[in-house]
Amino acid sequence: MASPDPHNTPETEAERRAGRLWARTAVMVVVGFVAVFGVLGFVIIPVAQGAQAGIDPWSAICRAVGVSPGSPAMRQPVSDTPAQPVSNVAWTPAILNTLSGADRATGQRLAQEVCSACHGESGVSPSPNFPHLAGQSAAAIYKQLHDYRSGARFNEQMTPVAEALSEQELAAIAAYYAEASDDLRLGTRNPLPDERLQRLVSEGDPSRGIPACNACHARGAGGPIETPMINGQHAAYLEAQLTAYANGGRRNDIYQRMRTISAALTEQERRELAAYYQGTR
């Protein structure tokens, strides 16, 4: 492609003029398009659409530029239905910081004084009536305690215990239990070797709208932050919770996630899954 003509011939005046013309045209075309599109998108269309929706031109332009909320085409309806949160826990950065900066020593003291009577020494509970706490995720413990305190979840024994604790103390206890030694912690047992349950747990059952339990209930699965670790938990406790979700006895799960899932399971499946997750050493 390189032409054989002599190097370094100076540009002629005509060539220079052609080059300038190219550059000027290019700039004009580019700026022109932006200007036309800008006038259309920020002025003409919004003002015309705004007029139909009873919005004055200035507001319509502000909306099109994005300095005031809403689209020019329509007034945004304002909902006046009051929200009814099932749980008062909202995962804000402030709460995450409280949890990550919690004082484990205070947590340990409180746990030994108050909780160990029921939940066992270091959170390993000897009785199936009381859930294990050792190695449970801090966010899960915090959320449940908070829910007991606010009344979103109720239990005759737990509610008074939680009501007596402050926000900082909840976080401290949660942080303490979350850090348990490997041989005690939840999540280290082998689930029952059962192929059918294994499939339900890892694939769910799309025909009944049941998602895979392990999409949320596995370490690092990336589900909701408050998802509790259930591997290794007492089967009786797990079954009781699933039943409570299914019949509405427990309703503190955000977006009804677990109520929906559990209601789609059969009673027998709830029992089998509970045993499956309790697992074996």
């Binding site: 003509d5 060539e15 599109f37 994005g66 085409a73 890892s202 694939e203 799309p206 025909s207 990336g222």
Partner: protein, 542 residues
């Protein structure tokens, strides 16, 4: 013999080896989505696979192919050795290291985040750092391309830069602009989130930064195909390029209008106002200008070739083209697929119609057709065209090359037509399994199976491609390769001189800056001026 021979071959083999693994995953994914029971199917495996497939096809195949091809063009079009070969090898190894890090993160289940960077879901930081290394490697390549062209211009004052190199540098310059968005997103948002240094992330900002990259990246992948259309196909068909100026203009327009348009991926997002979406939608339509310029110029060049071979008639000349030549055949098939893919693209980029297909299978079908179809078939053709110059042997049975290209085009159509249709029916993308016992969607099943058959044809084609590239068996005498250097298509009227603006990128860079300021200035600034809500980071495996 080329001095960049090993460099180019190594890049190409990395690209094609990755491609051949990824295509197996692609077929398995379609199987998983079909009513037939796929082995190993769990949701987690599916998303691991889609992550691996998307990263391999979108980042590894493309980046390594483009880098290797760029080195080839720099040496053969400029007819001088590549400057900074050590840098090129350093970039190569950096890229390999990055790929290995990302792959390791994926196979250990720590990065099921798909190939797009949409927080608050984040995977292992090593996944992102690996991909950053690949990008940095490609920046070194950009630098080398720019330096190579600058040195050539100094040695050949006033002469037009050969079109193939001009286009390669246009792509390099565009890529530098393109990667600013994703690099900012990764460095300031995603990687700190993945490490756990920050707990919340402004997802509006990250989606905006990703959209900065998301459209231009597909043009980065596409430009090698266009380089082949303009500078390789006309010669292989026995003719000349109809107009060198049209070529330059096309590549410059791609540089300008690939960037300020990414918001067309955010039409359904709430964080931007209608005005900016409208402006970017309108700018997107300008991409049709270089596309039509190309369709016109390449058709005219092909007609020139056909008439030189004795073709006559209004359309009769088409028969006279040398369809036995793989590059000519690939160009024809690529244009055929471009026709359908471009039509689909018009729907995607229309602010209103986008609502209909957003996040449906239509989108995946569309980019498979245009990227897997039009672009990748030209990657094959480029490989076939330059392979003899790299290896020193010629293909013994060109029929196998043509068969491979035909299989690819047929497979792609069979795969993507039902896939598009399902998107219109509302089938979701990025979903692992469907419950076909649900009467609402039972009718989708058979169409997914047709797509799966298309995928199997593609798999066969990919296998044949690899076989074709392997050196012929020793027992058969190898046919020696070409002794002359690689030649690019001459223009019908080779330019003696081109205006300086079409021989460099200064003006165009200024215009890109201006366009980006107009299109993205306020949309990005707003996140820093208003108290935008942030989302809690979700870490996989953390």
């Amino acid at each position: 013999m080329l001095t960049t021979r090993r460099l180019v071959l190594t890049h190409m083999w990395v690209a094609f080896a990755t491609f051949s693994v990824a295509i197996i995953l692609g077929v398995w994914q379609m199987w998983a989505r079909s009513p037939l029971r796929a082995p190993f199917l769990t949701a987690e495996n599916y998303f691991n696979s889609v992550t691996m497939h998307g990263v391999s096809m979108g980042y590894v195949l493309t980046t390594f192919f483009i880098m290797g091809f760029g080195y080839f063009v720099a040496e053969t079009a400029l007819k001088r050795p590549l400057p900074g070969k050590t840098w090129a090898w350093a970039a190569f190894w950096m890229g390999i290291l990055g790929v290995l890090m990302a792959v390791l993160a994926i196979v250990t289940n720590n990065a099921t985040v798909l190939f797009t960077f949409y927080p608050p879901l984040t995977g292992s930081p090593w996944f992102y750092i690996g991909l950053v290394l690949v990008v940095v490697a490609s920046w070194i390549w950009c630098g080398l391309m720019i330096v190579a062209m600058a040195q050539w211009k100094r040695a050949n004052l006033g002469e037009p830069v050969p079109l193939a190199m001009f286009a390669t540098v246009a792509n390099a310059v565009m890529w530098l602009w393109t990667t600013i968005g994703v690099a900012a997103e990764l460095l300031f948002q995603v990687i700190p989130a993945a490490f756990g240094w920050i707990h919340t992330v402004d997802v509006g900002l990250s989606r905006t930064l990703f959209s900065w990259t998301l459209h231009a990246i597909v043009y980065f992948w596409l430009i090698p195909a266009y380089i082949a259309f303009y500078t390789m196909a006309p010669r292989e068909a026995g003719g000349r390029l109809y107009s060198d100026t049209m070529g330059r203009l096309t590549f410059v327009l791609f540089l300008l209008y690939s960037l300020p348009v990414g918001m067309h991926h955010l039409f359904m997002d709430p964080e931007h106002s209608t005005g900016f979406k409208f402006v970017q939608a309108a700018l997107t339509f300008l991409v049709s200008v270089p596309t039509f310029l190309t369709v016109f110029t390449i058709s005219a060049s092909m007609e020139l070739a056909a008439r030189l071979r004795g073709g006559t008639g209004v359309f009769g000349w088409i028969k006279a083209l040398p369809w036995k030549n793989p590059m000519t055949l690939a160009t024809g098939l690529a244009f055929f697929m471009l026709w359908f893919g471009g039509g689909g693209g018009l729907i995607n980029m229309s602010y209103g119609m986008n609502a209909m297909i957003h996040n449906t299978s239509w989108v995946t079908a569309h980019f498979h057709l245009i990227f897997g179809g039009t672009v990748v078939i030209m990657y094959f053709a480029i490989a076939y065209s330059i392979w003899p110059h790299l290896t020193g042997w010629t293909f013994r049975s060109p029929g196998r090359l043509r068969l491979q290209l035909w299989l690819w085009a047929v497979g792609m159509m069979v795969m993507t037509i039902p896939w598009h249709y399902l998107g219109l029916q509302g089938q979701w993308r990025r979903v692992a399994t469907f419950d076909y016992s649900d009467p609402m969607i039972a009718g989708w099943g058979p169409w997914v199976i047709v797509s799966l058959i298309g995928g199997l044809i593609l798999l066969a084609s990919a296998a044949l491609f690899i076989v074709n590239l392997l050196p012929p068996h020793r027992k058969w005498a190898r046919q020696p390769g070409p002794t002359e250097p690689y030649r690019y298509a001459l223009a019908a009227h080779p330019p003696r001189r081109v205006p300086e603006v079409l021989n460099g990128f200064t003006l165009w860079n200024l215009l890109v800056a201006l366009l980006m300021l107009a299109a993205y200035g306020w949309p990005i600034l707003q996140f820093f001026l208003t108290d935008a809500p942030e989302a809690i980071v979700h870490r996989i495996g953390g």
